[in-house]
Amino acid sequence: MYGNLVVRPEDIENWGKKVEQEDPEKLVEFEARIERGEKIEPWDWMPFEYRRQLIRMIEQHAHSEIIGALPEGTWITRAPNFRRKLALMAKVQDEVGHAQLLYSAAETLGKTREQMINDLLSGKSKYSNIFNYPAKTWADTAIIAWLVDAGAIINQTTNSRGSYGPYVRALERICWEESFHLKYGYDSVVYLATGTPRQRAMLQDALNRWWRPIMHFFGPPDTQSVHTEKLVRWKVKLATNDEMRQQFLDMYVPKIWELGLTIPDPNLRKNPETGRWEYSDPDWDEFWRVINGDGPCNKERLAVRRFAEEKGRWVREALRSPQAQYVTPLA
């Protein structure tokens, strides 16, 4: 069990106030520990702002995993053969398992899973924008498993060098599993890219629709991001959005081109002088519109979660009932 009672709910309410009362000696010691590469554990002293930012980040990550299971999950029953069906089921199961790990990691900081789920359902806390787009064809699932998971690996590997112990350990395990998703995704993409003309067309169409959300995946450009110097020093944030986006383009654009696919951006090219990728504006207004609730699937995704929450209420109540007999499984 993690020490998930470190912070009482009323403490969370008071975070804003407590930041100003941070003990300067403890803060110096805390920053020195991070500087030395030590991990911060749930029972350690930490600034309230550190706690608040981590909860926000881990919670969003957990929500992204359960919402992310939805677009792919709907294709399990339609997968074209045993090999793909079994792999896709395992992948989606992994994603839900990641959510479970991450909610547990966030709970060590004092917010319960129930509170987090409530905030997801009320729209108060966010999840990755990319899952507000629909998976329209089988090829979409291949693109998601390859490129979206590739993006997730870059993001998560970066964050796994962070300072908060429970999150870092969860991420290490998650990245290990995601690397299998990537192999599955790439394999699926290769079959479509080398398949019949219809399969190729289906794949190209999927790439055309997913490219912009993938460009958005790493977040707004550094010029639009809020100042994060303190979060970098605390090893909550380890790379800027643009750095991660550049890394993704470096690793995957050549692979996409190698498969004979066209990336729907005529201006995409690596500048030989700067060594950096240049691309058209991927419409950051759209990014902000979607994150604020106006994407193609925002309503539907939350409606599904609310439906599950509503439908499962009697089960959770029954589990809490004093009459419920604890049944010891005889494994």
């Binding site: 359960i66 029953t77 053969n81 399969q199 599950a308 089960v315 959770r316 029954a318 005889l330």
Partner: protein, 254 residues
Amino acid sequence: MLEQLETLILSLADDELIMGHRQAEWIGLGPILEEDIAFASIAQDETGHAQAYYQILTDLGLRTPDEYAFRRSAKEFRCAHLVELPNFDYDYSLALMRHFLYDGAEQVRLQALSHSAYEPLAGLAQRLLREEKYHWLHATTWIKRLGRSTEEAHLRLQSALNQLYPYAWGLFEELPEEAAMVEAGWIPPSAQLREQWLALVLPILEAAGLQTQMPSTQALTAVMGGRRGWHSPYFEALLAELTEVSASEPEAEW
């Protein structure tokens, strides 16, 4: 005899395939996260078991697992109506009760098959039992726990049981030419398996405070036929979904 062997194995395999299909529909909709994971895991097992059963036939020179699963017409399937039923409005009591009744039948069937005179089937049954043990554990733990919790839980489970119980009897519908299979020592008579199943599930239901009534002949007639290729009204739609992608480009590799 090959034809009878195919009938027997398809009845086992098709139940698993379609049960896996329905359980997979629960991923993302479970009452708690842990149940999404459990159902995903069980659905994977069932789907994998279907594949392993079909493979026995493939090894005899018949069709491949993918051909069996993705390229047959509805009337060629041998699954029981219980596994075909949709998840309707996603009431967990229905999912749980189907899981319990079905996996109880699996326990009985696989234990019998593990002594089958047809060795490939006996070997596979022994292997599958090791995984099925956990399905059974999962199902019985939940039934016992919820059966005697709140009044609402009790009512929902009882109502699910009332709805599904006759369908579960359909799992033990006599197979076409069953006498020859029994004679060959492949499998005990369906009626005998059903008695063993009742001896297994009824005490657990009773301990959970749930009641059953012997289904009427009329009720049973309505849910039988799966083993002969007559399916519930829900099956065509399920099959259309199962084959949606593979049928969209039949010659393609995916």
